[in-house]
Symmetry: C2
Subunit: 217 residues, 2 copies
DNA sequence: TGGTTTTCAGAACATAAGTTTTATGTTAAG
DNA sequence: CTTAACATAAAACTTATGTTCTGAAAACCA
């Protein structure tokens, strides 16, 4: 991988703006977009810094084309403009559920991310990913290594698959949720398996599962 | 949804080219790209037809910007440039596996598509989607409604999950593949379940499963 | 400090790319 | 057949956008 160390503040600013502009607009900025946004006095300075960014492996420039900046990932491959969600942690039997802040946490930080479809993003807003460790979620048809995409919420409608924390048992689980008076029924997705019943105040709902990804590649 | 009926052949051609160009290049074509590719004698004709496509809800045009064509999905939302694979059909117990042509089938035709990550595309090349109908694949931890992304191939390495057709049984199945002499072992992903053994010449491998998508939204 | 490299400025320039205008060919309905 | 709406052409034009050149300021280093 190309070394990515510190760079001059203006270059840093340009680099951040390019990424931001791209994810907001779905197309790359022009030299002059950058010039204005980063308060640079000349297009040549922008060009100069883009050239440096290109040499350093951050971007690729298609010289024959307008708006020809491509943002590269760590493999030097062009990035798509599809939204990505952070994988904020792992979920496993017997270990606590990772906390997530609904805030837009400090940009991409160093979380792994997975790409999701724009429709999913539009439909649900802020989403998080959880990597499933172990085979304890098999009853939810979720295997070791799967990634579940979760919409953070404290409540769920009947039939929705939720990320639940059983206080007493100190256990995280993925089940279909059904409120039944003052208890809840947690039903495995695999309908051949039996449900769990638990007092309502023993069940903490952390989010709804909206998508599951299994990468066998 | 905007009505999408038949259109003049040249417009059709332009529309298909725009989609193809976008998915291949990650950026929209220019009027002149279209002109050349579709053998139109004038840019104004392209402009004219783009305007019609825009009115019909196929695309959006950003007039102030170079390469300002945005391809819209059925909800009128701009499409991301992530690659999409066609869902060529359904897979279910007792029904035949849909055929797919490795050729670039007649563009997008009227298949549903799902978005996949560019990495997946890069890694495997041409891919197809199969919608899973029914719960017969539960032993592979695949539920009704899931979509499996398949790389077409006739052979598989041991341990890979394959789309297999059992000739005698006339049955499609998703299992982990193990060659064992002149028979094959088809192992359910759910390791608590028993494998199937079948003569090697009874098993037709249609592809490898590289990705599974479950949308609970 | 003096030289060297990096970064910045300003302006002119070149090309990419969208738009407009005017004229002409086509088609379907009355 | 006539007409209006639709579709195509060609060329000129405007705007968007990338590039280059020259020189100066700033940062870096021995």
């Amino acid at each position: 991988m190309v070394s990515k160390k510190k760079m001059p503040p203006r270059r840093q600013r340009i680099w951040e703006f390019v990424q931001e502009f791209y994810s907001e607009n779905g197309i790359p900025p022009t030299v002059r977009d950058i010039q204005k946004a980063c308060e640079v006095s000349s297009t040549s300075v922008v060009d100069y810094n883009l050239e440096k960014l290109s040499q350093a492996g951050y971007i690729n420039r298609r010289r024959d084309v307008a708006r020809g900046i491509e943002i590269l990932d760590n493999d030097g491959q062009p990035l798509s403009n599809a939204p990505r969600v952070q994988i904020v942690g792992a979920i496993a039997a017997g270990s606590p559920i990772p906390v997530w802040s609904t805030e837009d946490s400090a940009s991409s930080e160093e979380f792994d991310t997975v790409e999701i479809s724009p429709e999913l993003q539009r439909k649900h807003g802020k989403l998080f990913g959880l990597a499933v460790k172990g085979t304890s979620m098999i009853d939810a048809l979720i295997d070791d290594g799967d990634v579940v995409i979760v919409k953070p919420t404290n409540q769920a409608a009947n039939g929705e698959m939720v990320v639940a924390w059983l206080k007493q048992e100190e256990e995280a689980t993925l089940k279909k949720f059904y409120a039944e008076g003052d208890r809840v029924r947690l039903q495995p997705a695999n309908s051949t398996m039996d449900p769990i019943y638990s007092p309502a105040d023993n069940v903490e709902i952390h989010g709804k599962v909206v998508y599951v990804i299994r990468n066998l590649g």
